[in-house]
């Protein structure tokens, strides 16, 4: 696959449209030499090429610098499809629908956070259900669950979790219109009814951070980020409900594809025309799961604030932004000189419209970044950028190569306290299992598809 790559500049690689038969558009991968060297390990390039074969794709099949192998679409993949001629694919969204990040900011000096950490971290650990244990969250009646699926974070705020001001700082105001709860299976609803307000496991986390470095003072000021002050970052998604929506949709689409005479090179790329009944139903179900995810993060935020109020009474933690990095949106973009409605799939990729905050979480023990979207992203990547570091090592290898106690000691020596629901997670999520986040961010910054605003360093990490 590498022989079909052409370096366009320091941050862009073109994947020629003859890399695999049937490619309708080229691939465009954002990569410097470091990221390019990691592409060798993966089949992600093949996946970029295969996505380019799907009907109705416009522009490019994109790979962001955090690209790695995913199911059907690569993680770190972006693809836009014509709303009339194109398809929608659950593989372009992923199992954890609307997995995303919330950032809270404060004017509390980091030293106060560090002093409080020995009690603060256990208090948060006790208040926010985390880990791979099923349930543990707010138990919803069927009626309440329907409201969550329709209203998202708006439901949560109306139910007393957070403030209306939060909604102004969530993508789409915290509610994806057009959700179809009736298109979500009873099985998905059963999985979701006791998981709202829970963090989950794997790479999901809650982090207490310090604003360590400001790159763009005016933008940082707009976002309320002050050097040396505390922030809170939360990374989680739609839990079992979203996983089940994805699984159900794959089954439905595999059957429908025969009728639509769509052939795909990988079963996980199954898709249907967006305009079909199955396409509209998946879009509606996906939006419902996204609303669940946004409500989930909103309820976690409310729980976090209750704990923080005990430590820092009267000092607010405002929402900077909340954004999903696994979602398909219908968006208007100017393409080939005219405005078109496109279904933009971002799987492990973040919306980066001009002026919009972009939240890029690091791995445990490394920095996270706040960026801002750019005009260039709107023109070049349908308003998209990267989403995180991206794994570079398997979980089992990370476990083998990580001594968990040493890891905790190393992190503690750097002033980072860690608590995890499972000791195994600590080893699996060791920083060396991920790409260098700073390199990933540098690529999108230099490429101009998002612009660095601030770097956040962890002080305390709560892992699932």
């Amino acid at each position: 696959m590498h022989k079909h790559l052409e370096r366009l500049d320091d941050t862009r690689l073109l994947l020629h449209p003859h890399a695999v038969p049937g490619m309708r558009v080229p691939g465009l991968i954002y990569a410097d030499k470091y990221v390019e060297s990691l592409l060798e390990q993966e089949n992600a390039l093949l996946q970029v090429a295969q996505v380019a074969t799907l009907p109705g794709i416009r522009g490019y099949s994109f790979g962001m610098p955090d690209i790695h192998w995913g199911y059907g679409f690569p993680i770190g993949g972006v693809a836009a499809f014509d709303a009339e001629e194109g398809i929608i694919s659950p593989g372009g969204v992923g199992y954890d629908i609307s997995c995303g990040v919330r950032l809270l900011t404060s004017r509390i000096p980091a030293e106060e956070g560090e002093k409080a950490m020995p009690r603060l971290l256990p208090a948060l650990f006790g208040a926010i259900p985390s880990g791979a244990v099923p349930g543990g969250g707010k138990v919803l009646s069927s009626k309440e669950l329907l409201k969550v699926l329709e209203k998202g974070a708006l439901w949560a705020v109306k139910a007393g979790f957070g403030t209306p001001e939060d909604l102004e700082h969530i993508e789409e105001g915290g509610i994806l219109q057009g959700a179809l709860p009736q298109a979500i299976s009873e099985r998905a609803k059963e999985r979701g009814k006791s998981q709202l307000g829970t963090l989950g496991s794997g790479n999901h986390f809650l982090e207490i951070q310090e604003v360590k470095e400001i790159f763009d003072a005016p933008e940082a000021a707009k976002m309320g980020l002050e050097q040396g002050c505390l922030t809170i970052m939360i990374h989680c998604g739609s839990r079992g409900l979203g996983h089940q929506v994805c699984d159900d949709s794959i089954k439905i689409m595999r059957r429908a594809m025969t009728r639509w005479e769509i052939a795909v090179p990988d079963r996980q790329l199954c898709c249907v025309p967006l305009s079909s009944r199955e396409g509209r139903e998946y879009l509606g179900a996906m939006r419902g799961a996204a609303n669940y995810a946004m409500a989930n993060r909103q309820i976690i935020v409310a729980g976090v604030r209750r704990v923080l109020e005990n430590f820092f009474p009267g000092k607010p933690f405002r929402t900077v932004w909340d954004v999903s990095h696994n979602l398909a949106h219908l968006e208007k973009h100017v393409w080939e000189g005219k405005e078109q409605t496109l279904c933009v799939h971002r799987k492990g990729a973040t919306r980066a419209f001009e002026g919009q905050p972009v939240l890029i979480p690091g791995s445990m023990g490394t920095s996270s970044y706040v960026l801002v979207g750019t005009k260039r992203a709107e023109e070049e990547t349908f308003g998209s950028t990267c989403h995180g570091a991206g794994r570079s090592m398997s979980r089992s290898k990370a476990l083998r190569e990580t001594h968990k106690e040493n890891l905790c000691r190393q992190l503690a020596s750097r002033g980072i306290q860690v608590m995890a629901a499972s000791p195994k997670t600590l080893g699996e999520e060791a920083p060396q299992a991920y790409k260098e986040i700073s390199s990933v961010v540098e690529v999108v910054h230099k490429a101009g598809i998002s612009h660095k605003v601030a770097r956040l360093e962890p002080l305390g990490v709560l892992k699932g």
Partner: protein, 138 residues
């Protein structure tokens, strides 16, 4: 043991070989448990198997049946906090279907780091002997 865990950058998977389709699916369950459950699979003190539980699945092909089987086990773990312990398992090829009879072993506090069984990188064949490679989204 006729299964092995295989490494994957982001997730994890397993490969199973068996003499029959039934054994393939039973061994796939063992591999799934090894990946999913942090403690070795055995009945612990105080845990009781519930009354009988049956599983019936239909699919458009045997690949889908294998994915559905693992996802059914996952659903039971997540929603009932229980592991399906089969006493008998029947697989039919045409139309592809599975019928399992057994009990549910209660596993309160079980940790489930798996999101779903997937088709990504999947390989399934019946000859020369049944083989399955399956990846789980973690």
């Amino acid at each position: 043991m006729s299964w092995k865990i295989i490494e994957h950058t982001a997730d994890a998977g397993f490969e199973v070989t068996a003499k029959s389709l039934e054994e393939l699916f039973l061994q796939a369950r063992e591999a799934f448990c090894a990946l999913c459950l942090e403690e070795p699979l055995r009945q612990r003190n105080g845990e009781k198997a519930s009354p009988l539980h049956n599983i019936t699945l239909e699919a458009m092909d045997l690949e889908e049946l294998a994915v559905s089987w693992i996802n059914e086990l996952l659903f039971l773990l997540e929603s009932r906090k229980a592991l399906f312990v089969p006493s008998s398992l029947q697989i039919r090829r045409n139309p592809p279907s599975l019928r399992g009879e057994g009990t549910l072993l209660s596993l309160p506090g079980v940790r489930i780091p798996v999101k779903a069984a997937t088709y990504g990188g999947m390989e399934f064949r019946e000859t020369p002997s049944p083989f399955l490679r399956l990846f789980l989204d973690m």
